[in-house]
C-alpha cells in the first residue's frame, strides 16, 4: 500500500486526477470503499458499472460536489478540499444525461455560462459560443437564440458538451452523457466525441453502464462493483480479463453480436 502511493506521487506531474484510499459513505451505506486511481493527462478513462456501483459518486468527488469521507482526491496535485470549490469547478467541464441545460437560457447563454461567470468580455464570449457550437456540429445562426426545449435530445447533448468545453478546461467529467439517446444518434455522437477529445487533447472521465461505449471511448476502462474498483485495464486487456464481473459484461456484448 505505501509503495503504491509513492509510485503515485512520483508520477504526479503527468497525473491530472488522483484518488488516494478514498472512501465515501452516507450515514447508513458505504458508497465507495478504499478507491485508488490515477487519471493521466490526455486519456479518456471510462468507469463502467451497473446502477448504484458508485461510479457517479466517484465523478462527483472530482469536482467536489461531494467530499471524501476518508482519503483524498487530488486534482492537479492539490487535494480538492484545498481548492476553492468555485475555481476548481470552473476548471472542470461537466456533462450529464440530457445535458442539464437551463431551460430559461437560450442555447448561446447556456454555452457561454462559464465564460460569463468568469468575467469574459461579451464579444469574446459570443465568439467562443459560435466556435463551440460549430465544433459540436450545430449551426450557430440556427441554434444560438433557441431554447433547449426546441431542440432534439441529441442536439441538447451536443450543447451540453459545448457548454462543458466553453472555458477550455483541461478536464471533462461526463455522467452517462449519451444514455438517453436513440442508438443511431448515440453512435454518431460517441464517434464525434472520441475525435473531439483526441483533437483538443482533453482529459476525460466518463461514466457509463454500456460496455460497448466503454470499449469505443476509453483509453482505459475501470470496472466498478459495489463501491470497489475491480479492475482497470485498456480495452484489449479488459476483453481478455478473467474477472467474472468483466466476463458478464463481455458476454452481453457477444450475445448482442450473436443476434446479428
Amino acid at each position: 500500500m505505501p509503495q503504491r502511493s509513492t509510485k503515485g506521487t512520483k508520477k504526479s506531474e503527468n497525473d491530472l486526477v488522483q484518488f488516494h484510499n478514498v472512501s465515501f459513505s452516507l450515514p447508513s451505506t458505504q458508497i465507495i470503499s478504499d478507491l485508488n486511481l490515477t487519471v493521466e493527462r490526455g486519456e479518456t478513462l471510462v468507469l463502467l458499472g451497473e446502477s448504484g456501483c458508485g461510479k457517479t459518486t466517484t465523478l462527483k468527488l472530482v469536482n467536489r460536489l461531494l467530499t471524501p469521507t476518508s482519503g483524498e482526491v487530488l486534482v492537479e496535485g492539490k487535494p480538492t478540499t484545498s481548492w476553492d470549490a468555485i475555481a476548481l469547478r470552473r476548471r472542470i467541464g461537466y456533462v450529464i444525461q440530457e445535458g442539464g441545460l437551463f431551460p430559461h437560457f437560450t442555447i448561446a447563454r447556456n454555452v457561454g455560462l462559464v465564460p460569463a461567470l468568469s468575467g469574459w468580455e461579451q464579444a469574446r464570449t459570443r465568439e467562443r459560443v459560435r466556435e463551440l457550437l460549430a465544433l459540436v456540429g450545430l449551426d450557430p445562426d440556427r441554434f444560438a437564440e433557441r431554447y433547449p426545449r426546441e431542440l432534439s435530445g441529441g442536439q441538447r447533448q451536443r450543447v451540453g458538451v459545448a457548454r462543458a468545453l466553453a472555458a477550455d478546461p483541461p478536464l471533462l467529467l461526463l455522467d452517462e452523457p449519451f444514455g438517453a439517446l436513440d442508438p443511431l444518434t448515440r453512435a454518431s455522437l460517441q464517434r464525434e466525441f472520441a475525435d473531439l477529445t483526441k483533437r483538443l487533447d482533453k482529459t476525460a472521465i466518463l461514466v457509463t453502464h454500456d460496455v460497448r461505449e466503454a470499449l469505443i471511448l476509453g483509453n482505459r476502462i475501470g470496472l466498478m462493483h459495489q463501491g470497489h474498483l475491480l479492475l482497470l485495464e485498456p480495452p484489449d486487456q479488459f476483453l481478455a480479463a478473467g474477472n467474472p464481473q468483466a466476463r458478464a459484461y463481455i458476454e452481453t456484448l457477444e450475445m448482442v453480436g450473436g443476434d446479428r
Binding site: I86, R89, P103
Partner: protein, 517 residues
C-alpha cells in the same frame, strides 16, 4: 332605487372605497412579498426551520379574520384601529401562500439543473439568482396571485376596524338592509378579485418555461407584463394619493369616531359639520365596531365620539344597571374623568333605550299602554330579539323576570330584521331602539317601561380632556347641542337615512340649517 341609479348617485364614494381597497391590498401584498420571498428562500437553505415556520404561517391563516382583527386591536404599535391594523392582519394572511410557493418553487427546480449550475462553478448566490429564482418564478407568482385574491376578500372585513375599503358598503348594507349597498360593495370586491387574478395569471404565464411559447403567446405575455406594470403603477398612484390625505390626530385636527349604526354616525356627523363650519379640520372615523371607539379614544386615536350613558355605565364601567338617569349620568361623568381623562357632554335631549314594541293595531285592539298591560298576552305571543338584547346584562333574562313574561317562542335574530318581522306578523313583540325611524312608519307602538326596568340611555358626546384644551371650538359646539335633539327629531333623522336612503351629510346639513346651528 334601481342599482343603476344608486351607482350614478354614489359613484364617487364607490371609487374612493375601491381606491382604499386597492391601496390596502397592494401595500399588504408588497410587504408580504418583501417578507415572504426571502423567508421562503431561507427555508430552502435551512431544512430544520421549514416545518416550524410553515406551520406558524399555516396557523395564522386558520384564524378567522374578524377574530384576528379583534386580537390586534389592543396591541401597541401594530394594533389599534385604522389601516395599520388591517395591514398587519392582511400581511399575516398573505404570508403563507407566498412563503409556501417560494419554497415549493425553488425545491421544485429540476435537481439535474441545480447540480449542473453548481458544477459549472456558480456560487450559491448565482445559483439562486440565475437559476432557482427564475425557474421558480412561475410558482412564486402563483403564490402571490393566491395571496392577492385572498387579501381582496379579507380586506372587506377590514372595514370593521375602520380601515375603509369596500367592506364599508357591505357592512353598511347589512345593517341597513340595503341591497344596493351590499351589491355595490360585494360586486366591486368580486370584480377586483377577478381582475387581480386575471392580471397575475398573465404575469404567471410570462414566467412559465415549461409550456412552449409561440409568438402569439409571447405577445400576450408582454401585454400581460405591461398590464402588470400598469397595475403596479395604479397601486402606487393610489398609495400616493391616499398618502396625501389627512393623517390621524394632529395638532388642530379633530378626529371624530362613531359606532357602526346610523344614529351614532349621524351624531358624529353633526359635530363634524359644526366644527368644520368653525374652521376646524375634521377626520371622520365612523362606523367602528364593538368597543373600538372607546378604546380608540382612550388611546388617543379619537378625540370624540357619541355614546349612551347606560352603555358606558354597564358595558365600559361594568356596573349593574340602575334606573335613575341623573345618578347614571353623574357616576359616568365622575368615573370617566378619573379613569380616562374624558369629559361627558350635557345630554343631547333624547334617549336611545330599548323600546318594547308591538303592532299599533294590536295595541289599540287590546288597549295596551305599558309592558305590564301586555304581560298577560305573552304566552300566546312570539318574541323577536336581537343578539345584543339576548345576551347583555340589562337584556332579555332580567327583562322577562322583571315583568314575569313567558313567551310562546323567543327568536333570536338580527335587530334590524325584527321591525319587519313584527310588522309582517312573524313575531308579536320586539325590543327595538327607541329612536328607530321605522317605529312610526311601520305603525308600531312603544310600550311604557312602567316598572322602570331599563337603565337610562341618554345620548351624550364623550370627548378627551386634552382635546377640549387643544381645540376651544369643541366646548362651544358641545354646549350648543345640549338638549338640542328630541326623540322625535332623532327618529325622523334616522328615518331620512334608513328609510328614505338619503345621504347622511345632506340630512345633517339640512337639520343644522333648520335649527340655526
Amino acid at each position: 332605487m334601481s342599482f343603476w341609479h344608486f351607482l350614478q348617485l354614489n359613484w364617487s364614494e364607490l371609487l374612493l372605497l375601491v381606491r382604499q381597497h386597492i391601496v390596502l391590498v397592494f401595500i399588504a401584498i408588497l410587504i408580504a412579498v418583501i417578507i415572504g420571498v426571502p423567508t421562503g428562500i431561507a427555508l430552502t437553505r435551512h431544512r430544520a426551520l421549514r416545518g416550524p415556520v410553515l406551520g406558524l404561517a399555516n396557523v395564522m391563516q386558520t384564524i378567522p379574520s374578524l377574530a384576528l382583527f379583534g386580537f390586534l386591536i389592543p396591541l401597541p404599535f401594530i394594533g389599534g384601529i385604522g389601516s395599520r391594523t388591517a395591514l398587519v392582519a392582511l400581511v399575516l394572511y398573505s404570508l403563507l401562500p407566498i412563503i409556501r410557493n417560494t419554497v415549493t418553487g425553488i425545491l421544485g427546480v429540476e435537481p439535474s439543473v441545480r447540480e449542473a449550475a453548481v458544477a459549472m462553478g456558480m456560487t450559491d448566490g448565482q445559483v439562486l439568482r440565475q437559476v432557482e429564482l427564475p425557474l421558480a418564478m412561475g410558482v412564486i407568482v402563483t403564490g402571490i396571485r393566491v395571496a392577492t385574491v385572498i387579501a381582496v376578500g379579507v380586506t372587506t372585513i377590514a372595514a370593521a376596524v375602520g380601515a375603509g375599503g369596500l367592506g364599508v358598503y357591505i357592512f353598511r348594507g347589512l345593517r341597513q338592509y340595503d341591497n344596493n349597498l351590499l351589491l355595490a360593495g360585494a360586486l366591486s370586491a368580486a370584480l377586483l378579485a377577478l381582475a387581480a387574478d386575471f392580471f397575475l395569471g398573465l404575469v404567471e404565464r410570462r414566467f412559465s418555461f415549461e409550456a412552449k411559447r409561440s409568438s402569439t403567446a409571447r405577445k400576450v405575455a408582454s401585454v400581460a407584463g405591461v398590464a402588470g406594470v400598469l397595475l403596479l403603477i395604479l397601486g402606487g398612484f393610489a398609495f400616493w394619493r391616499s398618502g396625501a390625505g389627512p393623517s390621524p390626530s394632529e395638532q388642530g385636527r379633530v378626529s371624530i369616531g362613531s359606532k357602526d349604526f346610523t344614529e351614532s354616525a349621524l351624531l358624529a356627523e353633526i359635530v363634524a359639520q359644526m366644527l368644520e363650519a368653525r374652521g376646524v379640520s375634521v377626520e371622520r372615523r365612523f362606523e367602528l365596531g364593538g368597543n373600538l371607539p372607546h378604546e380608540a379614544m382612550v388611546s388617543g386615536t379619537l378625540d370624540l365620539y357619541p355614546e349612551y350613558t347606560g352603555t358606558s355605565f354597564t358595558a365600559i364601567l361594568h356596573h349593574a344597571p340602575i334606573s335613575d338617569p341623573r345618578a347614571v349620568y353623574q357616576q359616568v361623568n365622575q368615573e370617566y374623568a378619573d379613569k380616562f381623562k374624558v369629559d361627558v357632554s350635557q345630554p343631547l335631549g333624547f334617549e336611545n333605550t330599548f323600546a318594547i314594541l308591538v303592532r299599533g293595531e294590536e295595541a289599540r285592539r287590546l288597549n295596551l299602554k305599558t309592558i305590564s298591560d301586555a304581560a298577560p298576552h305573552t304566552p300566546r305571543w312570539r318574541a323577536g330579539f336581537g343578539q345584543d338584547f339576548m345576551s347583555r346584562a340589562d337584556g332579555y333574562p332580567g327583562f322577562s323576570k322583571a315583568y314575569g313574561l313567558k313567551f310562546a317562542e323567543v327568536r333570536e335574530m338580527d335587530l334590524s330584521l325584527t321591525y319587519i318581522a313584527l310588522s309582517s306578523r312573524q313575531v308579536d313583540l320586539i325590543a327595538g331602539n327607541s329612536t328607530e325611524g321605522r317605529i312610526e312608519t311601520l305603525d308600531l307602538v312603544q310600550l311604557v317601561d312602567d316598572r322602570h326596568y331599563f337603565p337610562p340611555y341618554e345620548a351624550v358626546y364623550l370627548v378627551r380632556q386634552d382635546s377640549l384644551a387643544r381645540v376651544p371650538a369643541l366646548r362651544e359646539v358641545l354646549s350648543k347641542l345640549a338638549n338640542g335633539i328630541s326623540t322625535e327629531e332623532m327618529r325622523r333623522l334616522n328615518y331620512e337615512i334608513d328609510g328614505n336612503k338619503r345621504d347622511p351629510k345632506a340630512v345633517v346639513k339640512e337639520w343644522l340649517g333648520s335649527k340655526g346651528l
